[in-house]
Symmetry: C2
Subunit: 294 residues, 2 copies
DNA sequence: CTCAACCTATCTATAAATCAGATAGAAACT
DNA sequence: AGTTTCTATCTGATTTATAGATAGGTTGAG
């Protein structure tokens, strides 16, 4: 089990080409370097340097082991840099919950910077279907969340708007509603409505969206989009969810008579007051403030 | 710079879930483990274990650093296993020169086993064009060679036949010779002959192959095959070189009147008496003996 | 050829770190 | 309440690491 000081002596002696020079660089006595390397040679049973010349030269075997020694030192540096990062307040794990209705795309550029800035933090991404971000935060499963704005956040939650998302009534292009130029409430009421609903039975926020008496629920808006694509029913979905299908023409947006075609809903970044964020979470939060999601 | 003993104590304490158990497994005093871990905590500034319960449990930060510690220990084990391998007589580098005329395919299965058996040996493969294997061995550039048998090997070379290779007279299917049912020497003499010739000007072994007065040379038989494919001249090439082109029909083998269509030439494995092979080279040599190249 | 400069190995005394054993206090289980 | 098992800490003995001095070898210049 080679001592790190021995490896350091070995490496700097190899780099400087002389034990004395290594002793000067490491600010140790020359005898210390000599002993370190001789001990390393004894312990490994390998002659690392050829001392027949004035200055020692690496043997072929020494060169092989040198590379291995560098690898050990890199592991060591990773260890201490991880420790320093934790020491400086970086969390070791950061869990980000992004509601599926929110476009994750503007975050991606942030994450690339994040990866460089905090290489030691393990990032975890969750994509809960509908308004389950608060429960993930409450249980501590997630540290930071992105979700559509709610009327009331539970106590202990902090939030801040970072943009808006368009919500559109959509159906398949083959659906009877798609044939109409304009639709009003009575049109919509005749057909099955698909409503995103949280896993959490306590959450009643979906109720105010219900127009039609014929309702089906799904947790994920993407699943709803698939049901719609099959020609079944209509739903009010966020642009980020149905963007591709609208472009492909699989789904079409409905024009409403009395309302705006699209209603704008705010996008919030949410976090808990009780679980303090580490350096990485703080940075990410701050960067989210600068975003303008649309 | 964490001491390996500290890391070992950290790791086994984490694995056993107790400092005392770790002390028993490592055959040290319990106080040694306790001290090691406390010192590690002081040096890193990170609390690794939560001691509020009877047995210590890893903190979240401890878990992160534990993985890093494992990585260090793996580097260490790699280091000592490399050292042990060198110690046991394994070379750190093995250079294998396979003349292009020799099919490398039967070697590949060997190399797969070699990679598992000697993971620390850096293998280098050279593919000299024609009869340059001896010079690579003489200069020490290569340790082991595969080549077509020669009449005389220089002094200090050891060799052993390991199979045979068919040598065929070939030309493009569009070449005038390809139109003939059989060819004799006078036919061949009328057309340009391409002859493989060593880089080494001292090497005269190509001369006996020359039939036609119109000769071009090339070092690589593959280059010759390309020239032939373009429709220019004929050459006597080894099966391994032109196998694909014969199958594709780009090149055709010529039938000779008075000679056998194909002449068999031995394949030798060659090495130097003066540069002793390491364990890996010896093993590879021995396995080559068991081969039967054809 | 000789000398000066620079290198490494080795010795020695001292400073430092390590370790085992003993002990005390906390937690868990009976 | 008693027993077991655990960790932290203290202490003295042992081991280890280190600086400094010295001897001997290599290199290159004069």
């Amino acid at each position: 089990m080679p001592h790190p000081d021995q490896l350091n002596a070995f490496i700097t002696a190899a780099e400087t080409g002389s034990f004395s020079a290594a002793s000067r660089r490491l600010k140790k006595a020359q005898s210390a370097i000599s002993n370190a390397i001789i001990n390393l040679e004894i312990e490994t049973g390998v002659e690392l340097f050829d001392r027949s010349k004035r200055s020692p030269v690496l043997t072929e075997e020494g060169e092989t082991l040198l590379r291995s020694a560098y690898s050990i030192m890199e592991s060591h540096h990773d260890f201490i840099s991880r420790a320093m990062a934790l020491n400086a307040g970086e969390e070791s794990h950061l869990c980000l919950a992004i509601e599926q209705n929110v476009s994750a795309q503007p975050l991606m550029e942030l994450l690339i910077v994040f990866e460089e800035k905090y290489p030691h933090i393990e990032l975890e991404l969750l994509d809960p279907g509908t308004s389950d971000v608060p429960s993930l935060l409450r249980s501590g499963r997630a540290d930071l969340g992105l979700m559509m704005e709610q009327e009331h956040y539970p106590k202990g939650f902090l939030f801040r708007g970072i943009g808006h998302s368009r919500k559109l009534p959509v159906c398949s292009r083959h659906h009877p509603l798609a044939k109409l130029d304009q639709v009003d409430h009575s049109d919509l009421r005749r057909y099955r409505q698909l409503v995103p609903r949280s896993l959490d039975l306590e959450d009643k926020s979906h109720e105010e969206q219900i127009l039609s008496p014929k309702v089906w629920y799904a947790e994920s808006p993407f699943v709803i989009a698939e049901v719609l694509s099959a020609g079944l029913g209509w739903a009010s979905l966020h642009e980020a969810v149905v963007k591709e299908q609208l472009e492909q023409g699989t789904l079409v947006a409905l024009k409403r008579t009395y309302q705006q075609d699209a209603s704008l809903q705010g996008v919030d970044v949410v976090w808990s007051r009780h679980k303090p964020l580490g350096k990485g979470g703080q940075w990410l939060l701050n960067e989210c403030f600068k975003l303008n999601v649309s």
